[in-house]
């Protein structure tokens, strides 16, 4: 701490960065004082990640400068940034699954050779900041929350003076978020500056003493988030308050999707085994599955969609028909439609046009004698684009040319126009801007209003509370009993997400 008092630890002046076709950062300035927890908020695509990569030295800005203790940081690299005292915990973890915790940390600390000492340091550091870990454990056996602890400890062992946290809570339960916040406050009180990147406004209000808001690459406000409301922050972030989906009261009908005591080992070694999962979705209702990702959602969805067909026939039923061993096409014939979490590469073929991408899940009327009718698929794509307000160059534009939100609208629309009897959708609004997200939620509710059974798997509790009639929670491959939304609270769901009690095994 050689700089004179009052000098910000980090100051950005007029940072601009242009990528082909998009101005990611436009004349962005912000400063972070020693011991300050500074929020950086903005929607997906607002330029937060680019800005942090510039600070961390992974990307070079086109204009502007990065000041560290008042002195310009020259064009630098992540290694130099670490030496200067900048640590970063990434949104997607950068740990090697097959190595132990200590080995992973060792890789980030060149020059350290005393492994036993390092293991002690790791555990001592964890003790001090309330981040308990076992240094000898292999990373693949750790939960997501534990992996994040390892990432944070790895950063802290490098004695950072600025810690950048990129969307750290997207993989955590509400309780784990509280523990993380306690750790961050302790670090700040010891003089470490923290840049906290998030699009969750409640969290920023709870944690940060100052915040910079980005929209479209530009700073739209600097404020004390504790003095702001979610509504006022959201106005700065998106320019309007988010609309909400509202559903009419519905009368649930016949059970259209039933999962009955489904137990299944994972296909891949790193996957999650499912343990006696049971659930029922009736006509005219929206059922949600909450949970931190990686707790068996992907495995369950593949068993429902038919991509994985190892299930006993009776354990997956569509409108009463046993389909556990049937393939994707047969289940589609029973009225199932599915939107996977991964849009590019699974829900759509990136290099093919939208018109051709309709052929992934549509067939009737689009082919004649084995040949594709070009006019029919273009017309279908055009109707989806028009009805769901998809912003694209046209029905033959390549799927990869669309923004994430618009592609998601297209993929959801592609299934909704079929009026599926059973609609299963994973992370329907992940990475989608607020307006498009509201639109997608309205479509899900409308489908249930029209008598379909809708199952939504999401990490966003707010979303599930907004559109669902009932919730389940998945944790460690086990599914909780059904909880009507009226009786659910964030605390109760959060406890279940952490793998707490109340899981119910078989019930017929």
């Amino acid at each position: 701490m050689t700089a004179p008092a009052g000098t910000p630890r980090l100051a950005l002046r007029g940072i601009s960065k242009r990528y082909p076709g998009v101005l990611a950062n436009d004349n962005v300035s912000l400063s972070v004082a020693p011991g300050e927890i500074h929020g950086l908020i903005g929607e997906n695509g607002a330029g937060k990640s680019t800005l942090m990569k510039i600070v961390y030295g992974a990307v070079r800005p086109d204009a502007g400068e990065v000041l560290w203790d008042g002195a310009p940081l020259p064009a630098h690299s992540p290694a130099q940034a670490r030496r200067a005292g900048i640590g970063m915990v990434f949104q997607h973890f950068s740990l090697f699954d097959t190595l132990t915790v200590a080995e992973n940390v060792l890789l980030a600390l060149p020059g350290v050779t005393d492994r036993a000492g390092l293991a002690r340091d790791i555990e001592a550091m964890g003790e001090h900041y309330g981040l308990p870990v076992n240094a000898a454990q292999h990373v693949y056996s750790l939960s997501v929350g534990e992996r994040q602890r390892v990432e944070i400890i790895r950063c802290l062992l490098q004695k950072p003076r600025l810690l950048i946290m990129d969307e750290p809570t997207s993989v955590l339960t509400p309780q784990a978020v509280e523990r993380l916040f306690a750790t961050l406050r302790q670090l700040a009180s010891e003089g470490v500056s923290i840049l906290y990147i998030s699009h969750k406004l409640e969290e920023v209000r709870a944690l940060c003493s100052r915040a910079t808001v980005l929209r479209g690459g530009r700073v739209t406000g600097t404020c004390d988030p504790r003095q702001e409301s979610v509504a006022s922050l959201s106005r700065m972030m998106i320019g309007a308050e988010p609309p909400r989906a509202t559903g009419a009261a519905r009368q649930p009908g016949a059970a259209l999707l039933e999962i009955d005591r489904l137990t299944m080992p994972p296909l891949e070694r790193t996957g999650k085994a499912l343990d006696a999962v049971s659930l029922t979705v009736r006509a005219g209702e929206v059922v949600g599955i909450a949970g931190v990702s990686g707790n068996g959602q992907g495995e369950l969805l593949a068993l429902i969609s038919g991509e994985d067909r190892r299930a006993p026939p009776q354990s997956v039923r569509l409108a009463g028909a046993p389909v556990g061993g049937s393939g994707v096409v047969a289940r589609r014939a029973h009225g199932l439609a599915f939107v996977p979490e991964e849009r590019l590469g699974r829900g759509a073929v990136p290099v093919l046009g939208l018109h051709l991408n309709t052929l992934l899940t549509h067939d009737a009327g689009l082919t004649r004698g084995g040949l594709i009718s070009a006019s029919a698929i273009v017309a279908l794509a055009a109707s989806i684009i028009a009805r769901f307000d998809v912003r694209t160059a046209g029905p033959t534009a390549a799927a990869k040319s669309l923004s994430g939100g618009n592609l998601q609208k297209f993929i959801v629309g592609r299934e909704v126009v079929k009026q599926p009897r059973v609609f299963v959708v994973a992370q329907p609004t992940w990475g989608v801007d607020v307006g498009a997200a509201a639109r997608i939620r309205q479509e899900l509710v409308a489908l249930a209003d029209a008598g379909s059974a809708v199952l939504v798997v999401s990490e966003e509790l707010d979303e599930l509370f907004e559109i669902c009639d009932a919730l389940h929670v998945i944790a460690g491959g086990r599914l909780s009993a059904r909880i009507p939304v009226a009786q659910a609270s964030v605390e109760r769901i959060g406890a279940l997400m952490g793998g707490g009690a109340e899981t119910e095994g078989a019930h017929a």
């Binding site: 038919g306 991509e307 994707v328 590469g345 699974r346 992934l360």
Partner: protein, 350 residues
């Protein structure tokens, strides 16, 4: 240290221009090569790119070489578009030739003129079966199709050598490792008198149109494309991964086998240990030079045929070694791969 950095948006136009660029580079390096060998580059390049096209007979020879190259390349393009890395078209060609030759040797003197149709069918079945071995091992045991198809190429070549040295050797052939020459009824009819060109080229045009239609318009072709571009999307859509493996390999085997049959029942007229001057391998270059597109493969097969003929002519006219053909093929492939690399990456000097 220079390093390669991925371009955010590779130019599609350059993707199509790369083969032309590669051809230009090959000419430049060819010029340097002729200079280094002490030959006139003008005379050298003339032998490759002008002399073969000066006479009708020259054109017919180009056409004769284009047929096997194009048929194999079309089959390989189907495979590569489906993400199935078959590099054994050479073996499928050879076994197709063996099967066709076996059928041809069975023809009696009184066989009807249409007997050659059965010969061609034999070739198709032979190539199909050989590719089927690769498909089976990949499907059943998840064996790597690159290794299996390549190794089976050598097995096929050795099988041919065994047959022409053993059971199928012409007893009146002065102990040369050749089969009997086929009866006239087993031979594919000539297209024009005075050239060696057969009806095979017409067949190749029909196949070209069919493959084009298959890839561009058929649902099965679409399923293959999805499997190639995005295997997870294919699984999501419910397209069978096994179908992709079997269909693309069997189609390629059938086309390569047909090419082998057209060769032995066409210009060769008998089985010899060398029924292919590497057509199946050269077709890999043809497929990529043609951007895995049927129309592009025609252009690429034409260029490759010129290189084959130019290589033969430069032995007789310029006294260059036979390796010149391989050198030109190699330069073309290297230039194409280099051009493709710079389309997808740019150099950053650090």
């Amino acid at each position: 240290m220079p390093r390669l950095e991925a371009r955010p948006a590779p130019s599609p136009l350059m993707g199509y221009l790369a083969p032309v660029l590669a051809l230009g580079l090959t000419v430049v390096f060819g010029t340097l090569l002729f200079l280094a060998l002490g030959k006139s580059p003008v005379a050298g390049l003339r032998v490759f790119f002008v002399t073969p096209l000066e006479t009708l007979r020259g054109w017919s020879e180009v056409g004769l070489k284009m047929v096997p190259l194009l048929l194999c390349a079309l089959g390989l393009a189907i495979c590569y578009r489906s993400n199935v890395w078959n590099i054994g078209a050479e073996g499928q060609f050879v076994v197709g030739g063996i099967a066709a030759g076996g059928v041809a040797l069975l023809a009696g003197a009184d066989a009807p003129r249409a007997y050659f149709v059965i010969v061609l069918a034999g070739g198709i079945v032979g190539g199909l079966a050989w590719a089927g071995v690769t498909a089976f091992l990949r499907d059943r045991f998840n064996a790597n199709e690159i290794l299996v198809s390549l190794m089976l190429t050598y097995v096929g070549g050795l099988l041919l050598i065994y047959l022409v040295n053993g059971p199928w050797k012409d007893p009146k052939g002065f102990n040369f490792p050749y089969s009997k020459t086929f009866d006239a009824a087993a031979m594919v009819p000539r297209l024009f008198p005075g050239t060696r060109l057969t009806w095979g080229i017409v067949l190749a045009v029909v196949v070209l149109a069919a493959v084009w239609l298959f890839l561009a318009r058929s649902k099965a072709g679409f399923r293959l494309a999805v499997a190639g571009h995005a295997p997870l999307a294919a699984r999501f859509a419910g397209f069978s991964a096994r179908e992709g493996i079997w269909l693309s390999l069997l189609l390629c085997g059938a086309l390569a086998g047909l090419a082998g049959a057209l060769e032995v029942a066409g210009p060769l007229g008998q089985l010899t240990p060398q029924i292919s001057p590497g057509y199946g391998f050269a077709a890999i270059i043809v497929a990529w030079l043609g951007r895995l597109h049927p129309g592009g493969c025609v252009f690429a097969a034409f260029v490759m045929a010129l290189i084959y003929i130019g290589g033969e002519l430069s032995q007789s006219r310029l006294g260059l070694p036979a390796a010149i053909t391989g050198v030109f093929q190699g330069m073309l492939l290297l230039a194409l791969l280099t051009a493709d690399t710079f389309i997808h990456y740019r150099v950053r000097w650090r």
